[in-house]
Symmetry: C2
Subunit: 220 residues, 2 copies
């Protein structure tokens, strides 16, 4: 039984897709935003879009107090200020799922912006209180494919964390989404691989003029 | 029309699998080794295994002089001495395909050994004459799956190089192998991603007690 799933910065495209997918799977979802009004308005819109009532909106602080798992779905370069402003609001043992990937577009090419911590997930782990269990997941799945809820995902979601409990919790939640297979990708530093895989998928999308490149592991 | 494909260190498991797959696809293959006898004996064995006559064995120097594309299929930590000893034998504009991945097993976990050049492919590019066109490919496909020629690969081969011509040549060759889809993965530094993806696949194999984890990209 999965508790409520929150979204820190849930009004963007990445938060939207995951919120819709989880609500469609029967999970109660909380969209967080700095503004309660903006969160409520987004939640209302999302519910209307899928004929659902499982999505609510509230401030990020309230969302943090009410969620079992929280997805960090702000743009990668907003993660640091967003988390720093909320440090005091993190409940003990919160599971925080980082989906961000630091990258830039330069001369028509997409490039990974390697953080000095090794990955954005590790950078984020360094910014939150120690009792928060950071998980990296969903990094390699395109946000707009998540948001097109009539498209079957038919791919794998690679989940990594230094906390085995947190990894299992996020895998259990992800496993509720149809045609998505959660895979245990080991310790948090695997995010170094996952973030680069996202950049590669974006390169492939651009090269082949597609939008939905995502990974499936054969042979497992 | 693909010319002859050579293998630098073709008597190991990685070289074997690729040599068999290419010969089965109708390509003339040269197994190279420091010892001509060992190369000829391996070639004979490979031909017998697949009922074929397209595989020949010769010294690495002779193989380099006769091949259009050469696969570097030595263990990753033998690559440097192997290449240094053969520097004078590289024909101009040779296409050299690096399939190696630097890793170690430590406390039951597999770890990527990041070269200071960024990837093993970039390290290798720094060791060969400038006219040699280095390509990274086949890194993410398990050697023993390549060698089990009755197993359909059903996966993608990600090909990267700073030379577009070399990339296309290797993609054309790879495309001759049934159920294998070549994908253009961009510049050589994408090897940083591919090498880490191999380590992740090995982690997944160990975690799920499988042997053949390999990648397929959905949505392309």
């Amino acid at each position: 039984m999965i508790g409520q799933i929150g979204f820190l910065g849930g009004t963007g495209i990445e938060g939207k897709g995951l919120a819709l997918r989880f609500a469609l799977a029967g999970v109660r979802v909380i969209v967080g935003s700095r503004s309660a009004e903006r969160a409520q308005s987004a939640a209302q819109k999302y519910n209307n879009e899928i004929g659902n009532v499982l999505i609510r909106g509230m401030t990020n602080s309230e969302m943090l107090a009410s969620s079992e798992i929280v997805f960090l779905t702000v743009p990668f370069d907003h993660a640091k200020p967003a988390l720093e402003g909320l440090r005091a609001d993190f409940p003990a043992n919160l599971v925080l799922v980082d989906v961000t990937v630091p990258m830039q577009f330069k001369a028509g090419q997409v490039e990974y912006l390697e953080p000095s911590e090794g990955s954005n997930a590790e950078l984020i782990a360094s910014l939150v209180p120690e009792s928060v269990q950071v998980v990296a997941a969903f990094k390699t799945i395109p946000a707009h494919i998540l948001a097109e809820t009539d498209v079957p995902l038919q791919c794998d979601v690679l989940v990594c964390s230094d906390s085995q409990d947190a990894r299992k919790k996020v895998m259990a939640a992800a496993g509720l989404i149809p045609t998505l297979r959660p895979l245990d990708a080991g310790p948090l530093k695997t995010a170094r691989t996952l973030e680069r895989m996202t950049v590669l998928a974006i390169h492939l999308n651009r090269h082949y003029k597609k939008k939905g490149a995502r990974y499936r592991i054969e042979g497992l």
